[in-house]
Amino acid sequence: MNTRYRILKAEYLNVDTFLLTVQSELISKKARPGQIVTIKCGDEGGVILRRPISICSVDREKGTFDIAIQIRGKGTKILSKFKAGDMIDIMGPLGQGFSLYPKHKKIIAIGGGIGIFPLLQLLKDHPAENKKAILGFRNKSCVILEEEFRQACNELFISTDDGSYGDKGFVTDTLKKVMDKEPADMLFFCGPLPMMKLGVEIAKEYNTPCEVSMEQRMGCGIGACLVCVCKTKKEDDWEYTQVCKMGPVFSGDKIIID
């Protein structure tokens, strides 16, 4: 099994987030929006776990895909040093992506921070007629991929926590306003847990189905080790389910965020 691919482009989107374009026929062809890859950080041995990263967009013709990574800790720091031309060790595509049902005509993708990344290809691929995106960032300097999102949807709303760009406030506030004006028939959430928890509640309020993309620390990344679990409903009980294999995308009906 080959997991080594060439990086074609490496560029910073802002001070701590960079984008890698990677050549892979296989991954670009097979990847569905919302699926992830896991990336090895180095060979020196100190950092042993792969990092889970969402597939941000794919170019199926060129056989390439993009991932956007924010530097958080040791592993992403090492990844930030990769340059165009380097080989990188990537496994994927893994997990379950978003549902792209033709019956959904009006969708809204709601993302916060690094949660915006998987939404880009979702918007590109989704067959709906009316696609809106609501993206939240900490402040103006964190706003990235705006143009790409604008092109991928019919209407783009941006908000920042401090109001330095777009609306001031949370994406969930914007969501309510947008839904009040023109209800969607499917919502997609990806971002911090409190945002997604609120999102699922709002979806319920508006009686609209939704999907959320969960985050969890991972080991194997393929479903074997059971370290990456989240709570999901199971008949009248609940169980722990692997985010890497059965997710990261879960139906709002199924997930338990507590």
Partner: protein, 305 residues
């Protein structure tokens, strides 16, 4: 596989086609990794830790990365031994490799039941996990005193009609005592080491990283400790020893064989490299060819001291 190179080992009555086994808890029931490589290449598979009843496991996060290691606190999430037999054995049996059922109990009676149930099921061996640090009750407590090990093993032995491996915890003052107790009680082999109890803290949030505060350390960080314990135990008992703890490649595996292990298990390293088991088997072959060694058994305990 090269000609003239014999990788077969016998672990207390359990024949393995090669000495590289997937460690329990890291390989599920084999399904997932079978997408990545031909898992019949493996000397054996120790399946995810089983309990008599299904278990939900511990709250997440269940993993933390530490320098050259990981902490896990899965807490034995599993569908229970019956569902395993019904749903997983049929898949596993299609694969030409050795199946080792890893079991944990809360009481000696539970261990006995599982040994009996599995003796009537289609698995090749039973590995008693007396050492999982991730559950409040039960197995860590059994594994940390020679006396308790002796009593669990000897009672289980009455029900186990398959080779019985006893998995030892490293969280003890003298692991050779525990190994000797297992041997005397009738264990066919011992496997070591299970994970070492550890902890990780996020200084920013001032909270433990793991949902259950502490977890079990595995991976390269523990290799020197595991190697020492395998060396000590293999000199203290006559039954075969299966070594594990941080093995990442053939060189590591050979070190364990030289220290006295008759076979090795690999767990954590598979997370970074799903080909690690196959590469290890091939690397051992290469080493044997380079050093004109015909049978891998010649390496066992071959350390020059």
């Amino acid at each position: 596989m090269r000609e003239n190179i014999n990788l077969k080992v016998n672990i207390g009555g359990l024949e393995l086609k090669n000495p590289v086994i997937a460690a329990s808890g890291c390989f599920g029931f084999g399904r997932e990794y079978s997408r990545f490589f031909d898992i019949k290449r493996l000397g054996g598979i120790a399946v995810r830790g089983l309990t008599l009843q299904p278990q939900k496991g511990n709250p997440p996060p269940r993993i933390a990365e530490t320098p050259s290691g990981i902490l896990n606190s899965v807490g034995l999430q599993n569908p229970g031994v019956h569902t395993f037999i019904e749903k997983e054995i049929p898949f596993l049996r299609k694969i030409d490799t050795t199946i080792i059922a890893n079991v944990s109990g809360n009481t000696i009676e539970e261990y006995e039941s599982m040994a009996e149930i599995l003796s009537n099921a289609d698995v090749d061996a039973i590995e008693l996990n007396l050492s999982c640090p991730n559950v409040q009750e039960g197995c860590l407590r059994f594994g940390s005193s020679a006396q308790k090990v002796e009593s669990v093993v000897s009672r289980v032995k009455n029900y186990a009609k398959k080779p019985l491996l006893v998995k030892l915890t490293p969280n003890v003052t003298d692991i050779t005592e525990i190994a000797k107790a297992a041997e005397e009680a009738g264990a066919d082999s011992v496997s070591l080491i299970n994970t070492i109890l550890g902890m990780a803290i996020n200084a920013k949030t001032r909270r433990p990283i793991l949902g259950s505060i502490t977890g079990g350390l595995s991976g390269p960080a523990v290799k020197p400790i595991a190697l020492r314990m395998v060396y000590e135990v293999s000199r203290a008992v006559k039954i075969p020893v299966i070594g594990m703890g941080g093995i990442c490649n053939a060189t590591d595996a050979i070190e364990f064989l030289l220290a006295g292990a008759s076979a090795v298990m690999i767990g954590t390293a598979g997370f970074a490299n799903p080909m690690v088991w196959v590469e290890t088997i091939e690397g051992i072959e290469d080493y044997m060819a380079e050093n004109s060694i015909n049978s891998v058994t010649e390496l066992i305990g071959g350390l020059i001291v």
